[in-house]
Symmetry: C2
Subunit: 366 residues, 2 copies
Amino acid sequence: MREEEIQTPCLILDLDALEHNIRKMGNFAKANGMRHRAHGKMHKSVDVLRLQQELGSAIGVCCQKVSEAEVFARAGVKDILISNQVRDPAKIDRLARLPRYGARTIVCVDDIANVADLSAAAQKHGTALECFVEIDCGAGRCGVKTAAEVVAIAKTINAAPGLKFTGIQAYQGAMQHLDKYEDRKAKLDAAIAQVGKAVEALKKEGLEPELVSGGGTGSYYFESGSGVYNELQCGSYAFMDADYGRILDKNGKRIDKGEWENALFILTSVMSHAKRDKAICDAGLKAQSVDSGLPFIYGRDDVKYVKCSDEHGVIEDPLGVLKVNEKLRLVPGHCDPTCNVHDWYVGVRNGVVETVWPVSARGKAY
Amino acid sequence: MREEEIQTPCLILDLDALEHNIRKMGNFAKANGMRHRAHGKMHKSVDVLRLQQELGSAIGVCCQKVSEAEVFARAGVKDILISNQVRDPAKIDRLARLPRYGARTIVCVDDIANVADLSAAAQKHGTALECFVEIDCGAGRCGVKTAAEVVAIAKTINAAPGLKFTGIQAYQGAMQHLDKYEDRKAKLDAAIAQVGKAVEALKKEGLEPELVSGGGTGSYYFESGSGVYNELQCGSYAFMDADYGRILDKNGKRIDKGEWENALFILTSVMSHAKRDKAICDAGLKAQSVDSGLPFIYGRDDVKYVKCSDEHGVIEDPLGVLKVNEKLRLVPGHCDPTCNVHDWYVGVRNGVVETVWPVSARGKAY
């Protein structure tokens, strides 16, 4: 089947671009002596993760929820980090069963009160859970801030049966989308200093962390050169999106114009053109998330996606060049929640459908 | 199971509130001699539609895509309008097969060039399709504007084998969310005048439309009193959301404080409270769409949902009153695309789970 025959709206993956991105990050991590734990919350796909392991250098996956981890564990992934807290008793029970699939299972902790519950569940199921202490190094969400808190939680973990303290989770989420390289560097320098202090404090207590994990598509070169981190969690690099694409590299160039290629698109069709200067396409809010802005139309400067409602996108077409049923590739504003709306990825190479992959963990937000 | 035991994030429906809203709209439509064609694109649920037919006065459904219509047709719904254009050849073929399920099948047309394709497909499958001509009465999306265009398309439809012109689609989507009643009325008055002219022009040609369809939760009382419309398409009234909730009725009162009750909630749990004045909950962008603003926390003035990322919501908790694992009901900003992220509705009455309904047409955007 050719790309033009696909019924829209639909997610398509340009397989050449995807493989290029995956190889590039894999080589970067290897060359810099970093583990790459690919973030599965972005693609939610067992098939994309396999590619990251086979063509890239991914050592396993991180994800955000127990329900996602279950999908990856059942698919045979052997190293899984839930880069988030798990507090609900029913979810802790599910978490403690994950090692039975043969997966190293790691969870984040930012509260001493969580430790006893995790320990009890691991003992109940006869499993071993590893724990990272989460540091809030600027994202402003979960995590503790001071080295003293980190040490106190790590000690409590190591004293708890069934648990082992093995690392630090420190993802600076708030800086990833700052346009300027220097602005991102300043934020990351501060984060590295903060995490470094916690690592020193842990070492003094004989609790040197095996893994210090973090880093995203807007920052991975900073963590890699830090001497503090040894594990990256980049996810969006593989697909790219409009919001990441506009950030600038060291040389002031958009990162989707050289560093990474756009591999993810929403394929859409023009389905009404009753006004000469305005085309209506079939990809609206049911086909994407616009939390980080509207999509752009790939490879076209003559037409512009300007408005989004439930089922429609409004496209400015000042010259009236678009035809009904014409297909366009949209680059979504934000890849993660856009992928989560769809059931399938259609993999395309040279304009021909090569594969269809399920969004394996779609809707697994619990 | 009690509401507190549900694993979050998750959509819950307050069944008392839902039934109240459905009965109220049903009674309104009956009392005003209007057909109510409930909009299925909002809930995408066969079970909610059944309630709208049994407790309310819904005569059938409208939806936006052929894939949605297939779900409702297979569930036995007998009157289905696709309130949208269908242009792709493969989708037209699927559309023309729908009447075989025993459903009256209506589709919108805003381009004469569409008519021959619809006619050919109906003939191929030996079925009959009804057509509404769509008027753009202010939404600025699909639809033609002038009475002359409406008449020309209607004539072409009626001359085409397998097709029948039976009505007008005229939904003023752009005014539904204007806060002030008078502002909404001014927009709707203009729409009614425009649609009225088209109806008059059609009558002169012997093409009086059987149905004139439109109206949403912010406007249905205007269409009902117009003498031009005879069919309403309200959908959001059944669930309510934060964006609709803040519009004002005739007396300046928010419509979620009397006219309708909040029936739809995202149930969320506090999963981190490492900072005293900030709680992190587990409902972010994977649990909702924030295109129309952030959710509010139902029934609470002391805490506020202020920020949303992929998996997290940040809640200001100045007094530190929230506890980890505490559950909160969020009213989403926009119900339609929020429902489309979830696989299930959990129906709750008096704090106890009574039923679980699939979001039957989730992801059916094609």
